[in-house]
Amino acid sequence: MSNKPQTLFDKVWDAHVVKQVADGPDVLFIDRHFIHEVTSPVAFLGLKNRNVDVMFPEKTFATADHNTPTINQHLPVADVLSANQLRALEENSAKYGISHWGLGNPKNGIVHVVGPENGITLPGMTIVCGDSHTSTHGAFGCIAFGIGTSEVEMVLASQCIMQPKPKKMRINVHGSMGKGVTPKDVVLYIISKLTAAGATGYFVEFAGPVFESMSMEGRMTVCNMSIEMGARGGMIAPDETTFNYIKGREKAPKGEAWDNSLAYWKTLKTEEGSVFDVEYNYDGADIEPMITYGTNPGMGMGISQRIPTAEGMESGKVSYEKSLNYMGFDEDQPMLGKKIDYVFIGSCTNGRIEDFRAFASIVKGRKKADNVTAWVVPGSHIVEQQIKDEGILDILTEAGFELRQPGCSACLAMNDDKIPVGKYAVSTSNRNFEGRQGPGARTLLASPLVAAAAAVTGIITDPRTLIG
């Protein structure tokens, strides 16, 4: 071992390399594997065809989320294909002895919400799931990333995957977040600067005072969207905020095991003098509430700005124009004041209790605009219960909002929660791709505060004008 200063990423990666393949990838041991109903059935079929068992069933956790209804979850799932997937997850989990939190289970919810809130996600782990937003778990100082179904099969069969080690990027945000600015705005700002492909090939460490001052919920929002800048994943060094969040959670270590874990977790930080392949620096003071205007998450802007013009673009003019055309927008238009039709708050990006607190802070004492259909979807049953316990449900109900049941919902619109053709939706989710929220749907990504401001005014509104 050399004495070269090590990054957080190097420490966690190197601790998991089982074997290095010459002129090839590293064989990486996986500590936690999450599975859900959509990307796992074909992996289990593969195991069956190969006549291979699950190597460490206790390291895999199943939850149903992508393809579940968000109303009447006590009734049988009406969509036959969706019901088949849910049954396959249940049967495969039972067959191989995998923990399964299906529909109706009090622990059920979106995979990237339930992992952390039950203490399954712990600092220094490697975590994978057949879902690109697995990067969420990086908020705990984990190497966490999305994988394809072949790799899901690989992890089930061997608890390993084969990955070339990515390059390292550090993104520092200095200063602090201004009024009305949330972690979602910080990450949308970064993506707007780097573009949707700007971090492809890299693993990102988010560092600096802005991230240090964030709650775990906020850090999860940031790491969640690492993939939207193309990164394999993003991570934040664990600190007291992290340890306080984990302590006492159901599957977190207890007693002596806690003390031992804590001693190790405290070593998980980037050492002074470590070298990154690339580094970016931003200032929190430059970030205002953000909104997207196009069809990839890199097409975001400060809410008070005007839509950029294609003039001066070196390439991609055609794609840019196609994108604005899909959205029904023109260059150099302001976004403020545009009429919207739908609001969606939820998803693995912004479906945690802090997000509903933020949403309610603006909604309180106001009414939902008549022209807006709003879907308020908690990330898990635990979040749902918190919403009730904290009186947020009363605020929502008073203002004319209904709370739905947990699931991925309109983020990817696999279930019935689809935005109709041509309609505008302010969404706290992570992707504004064409048709992502339903064929022809037009998505505007934003924070829970911007979503709330739009929900009560019916138009795109700067939330800072509604905050006392």
Partner: protein, 198 residues
């Protein structure tokens, strides 16, 4: 799942000169409900390929009979977004064996190689040359030689070399996958797991 070995591919190509083609375009989420790998090719580029009433959109390249072949050529940042391997399955099952672009999203690239599609990364300039050649002559032949790591515009002989690690190259040329490899080092994995703190 077994796939065809990849050695040398000589074919015409289908051009899709759009940047940031994400996996939601390659296959929308509402078509991910199967529990088996079948039928995904029918929904490849569904919303670009078909109108809401399921009639083909005449201006989309897959509906234009002059463009055929086993090579799909896409704009920069191809395959971004969701990790759904269904996107790679749809492309493979439709009949493509190779996707050429100047830049691929990571997960899509991995998924492709895992199921037998060769992603070939070329320079921005060469990508432009390919698009121009196909535009001028839809019968333009492209030859991709995995062993030599070359991509050639056959008519003019213009060519580039591309990168791929030796391990993945060996797999693709022989139709192997990672599980075959991992199966053979099972005892090393077991030994490693015994020392895992989690």
């Amino acid at each position: 799942m077994a796939y065809d070995k990849f050695t040398v591919l000589s074919s015409t190509a289908v051009p899709l000169p759009i940047e940031n083609v994400d996996t939601d375009q390659i296959i929308p989420a509402r078509f991910l409900k199967a529990t088996k790998r079948e039928g995904f090719d029918e929904n490849l580029f569904r919303d670009w390929r078909y109108n809401p009433d399921n009639t083909p959109k005449q201006d989309f390249v897959l509906n234009n009979p002059i463009y055929t072949g086993k090579i799909l050529v896409g704009g920069r940042n191809f395959g971004s977004g969701s990790s759904r391997e269904h996107a790679a399955w749809a492309i493979y099952d439709y009949g493509f064996r190779c996707v050429v672009s100047s830049f691929f999203a990571d997960i899509f690239k991995n998924n492709s190689m895992n199921i037998g599609i060769l992603p070939v990364t070329v320079s921005e300039g060469f990508l432009h040359q390919i698009f121009t050649a196909i535009e001028n002559d839809p019968n333009t032949l492209i030859e991709i030689n995995l062993d030599a790591q070359t991509i050639i515009l056959v008519a003019t002989g213009e060519k580039e070399t591309f990168d791929i690690n030796g391990y993945k190259k060996h797999n693709l040329m022989n139709g192997f996958d990672d599980i075959d490899f991992l199966h053979n080092i099972k005892s090393e994995i077991t030994a490693f797991a015994e020392n895992s703190p989690y």
